[in-house]
């Protein structure tokens, strides 16, 4: 299977996929690490794909999304954005809303 086919399959068969440098246990870049922290906080299950495992994957995901940087977050097959967008959406509460509106389990914020 080519890298692009593998990316397509990952995006189509997982509700939430994060293409990142390193793994969720061991991010290899600060931007990837930030998105991992946000997803862990939100509590949604997700698949992590380490683009450092191959140049085909690393270049392929940029081509696939028409987006020049990594990390990249996909929800239900839709490209959501990179680190800056995910952080902005998280801070505005929009990320949690988006995930909930797609029927995905997120931790509800508790007040106090």
């Amino acid at each position: 299977m080519s890298a692009l086919e593998q990316i397509k399959q990952d995006v189509e068969t997982n509700d939430v996929v994060l293409f990142m440098k390193g793994t969720k246990q061991f991010p290899m870049c600060g931007f990837s690490g930030q998105v991992v922290q946000i997803l862990e906080y939100v509590g949604v299950p997700y698949k992590d794909v380490n683009v450092l495992e191959g140049d085909g994957l690393r270049d392929g995901i940029k081509q696939f999304s028409n987006w020049p940087t990594i990390p990249q977050l996909y929800v239900k097959g839709e490209f959501i954005g990179g680190c800056d967008i995910v952080r902005e959406m998280f801070q505005a509460g929009e990320l949690q809303q988006l995930l909930a509106s797609k029927g995905l389990p997120v931790k509800q914020a508790t007040n106090g």
Binding site: F31, K62, N66, W67, P68, T69, F79, I80, G81, G82, C83, D84, I85, E88, M89
Partner: protein, 77 residues
């Protein structure tokens, strides 16, 4: 070669002439920047589209010579 903050601003303004661009050198090393870009051109566009407009302005440098540009975009209030 890292990019100069002035060059980043110039390229963004060439593509988005009305843009208000604020660039900060985050680490003082000429390699880690944040950019806040406010432009009427962003109105009605999704965040992904807004960022893609800035990336287009940077003509392929994003992800290459510019590996660390934290970007925030919005339309004017």
């Amino acid at each position: 070669m890292p990019m100069d903050a002035g060059d980043i601003e110039k390229m963004i303004k060439e593509a988005l002439p009305d843009a208000e661009v604020t660039i900060k050198d985050l680490a003082g090393d000429g390699d880690h920047y944040s950019a806040i870009v406010v432009s009427e051109a962003f109105r009605g566009k999704s965040r992904v589209q807004q960022h893609q407009m800035v990336y287009a302005a940077l003509q392929g440098r994003m992800g290459g010579v510019l590996h660390a540009l934290a970007l925030q975009t919005s339309a004017p209030n």
